[in-house]
Amino acid sequence: MNTTSWLNPLAALVLSPLLPGIINRTKAFFAGRRGQPLLQGYYDIAKLLHKGAVYSRTTSWIFRAGPVVGLAAVLMALVLLPLGGSAAPLNFTGDIILLAYLLGLMRFFTVIAALDTGSAFEGMGASREVQFSVLTEPALLLSLAAMGKAGQIGSGSRIEHLDNFLSLSGIYSNLSASVWMRNGTILLLVAGALLIVLLAESPRIPVDDPNTHLELTMIHEVMVLDHGGPDFAMILYGAALKLWVFSALLAGVLIPVRSAYWWLDAGAVIGGIFLLAVVIGVIESSMARLRLLRVPQLLTGAGVLSILAFALILWR
């Protein structure tokens, strides 16, 4: 294990609250406004940390554990997350599944904390969140599997210190420009699937509108209505880190910079993550939220894209 790889999670910890700021600035630009400052995410978190928390008498310890466990799970996911070609501090065979289920654990605790309040609105949001995650999880895992297979075929005899194609760092270190030349179509399908998963998990506009305050249409925001103070700061920070994780997964595919220098690889992907934040802002400005009944169809579409990519790479 080399010490430089710890800079990847460190970058995520420091830079991730910038992402919502960039998205909001892009949206403001499209609407012709000036928008909030780029650092608003940090200000919000700092302000919330200074506040006290209020707990309802009907809640139990689950409600207080929700944000803590959520943040812990996403922090562990960061340790497994490679930035493009630069490997993660921790990598082993099968860490794909651990990553998917760390994010699953985060969601599970958000959901039971929401159910713990006993509020009907939060139960509704919890039900939706779980319903949609059933559809996004297979899409995420199949996309990663298709990338692993594409990298394994494409890299051929190129021996790396991480030629293990079943760990996240191995998958991403194999995805060089030559793999793009051979299997670009499949990687594009994977990128499409991952983009939909990113929008659904973040959760951003075609699936959920983060700005809405009408509980009937909300998914994620409605689950955290009763959290306040430091708890809410942890939720905001966790959401920003989760957005960073999914953006890094997508940017790692789209930017095939695999040089010998870790700082070049990681820098290119971090640049890609910020570009993706701008793209999300553009999508949010140019699209309306889908009707709730149509969302499963979009997510099934993501699943179909990833199945298609996996089938094509398997049977070629």
């Binding site: 030349m181 051979r182 299997n183 670009g184 179509t185 499949i186 399908l189 499963p296 169809q297 099934t300 579409g301 179909v304 199945i307 298609l308 089938a311 094509l312 049977w315 070629r316």
Partner: protein, 214 residues
Amino acid sequence: MELWIDCLIVLLILTNLKLISSSRLSACIRVVAIQGVLLGLVPLLVGSGDLTFRVILLSIVTMVVKGIVFPWLLLKALRSANVRREMEPFVGYTTSLLVGVGLLALAIWMGRQLPLPAPSKSPLVVPLALFTIMIGLFAIVSRRKALTQVLGYLVMENGIYAFGLAFAHQEPLLVELGTLLDVFMAVFIMGITIFQINREFDHIDTDRLSLLKD
């Protein structure tokens, strides 16, 4: 080169999936038009011979007929029938997508079983052709509106055509052009029929036509 062929085939597969997952009839017609244009590119990229005059002619005629003439005829029929959406199909849209994935797996499996007369440039052309035929058939049996069924028929024909195009080298030009003319006549007549059905009964739901008596 191989990358472009892959790209083309994946786009054709995606047009098929889009067709069975969208409810707006005009969007379906547009998808079939795009499929026609993409199909016109197939002989240029995948054909087993050199780029001869007849391959280019075939490609241009395909694009014009399938990409412009058919959609125009169908859009006209759509306007006269005054329907916008396929309401309540026999199989829902999300289920249709999943059925589509199943059909794709079946097509890939079948494509690998078939012995071919000549090796084609890409192993995916035959599965694509089989998949397109199956999707066309599926659209015919799972939708109510006469117009969607015409689209299903067109897509099925596209599949057979793709199968032929992969081996266009061996096939006489006359046969290809004859098929195109046949399909043109069929779509022309079906367009008129849809108009007539709509004028007579005020709808184009084929399942409600089953009770017709003399």
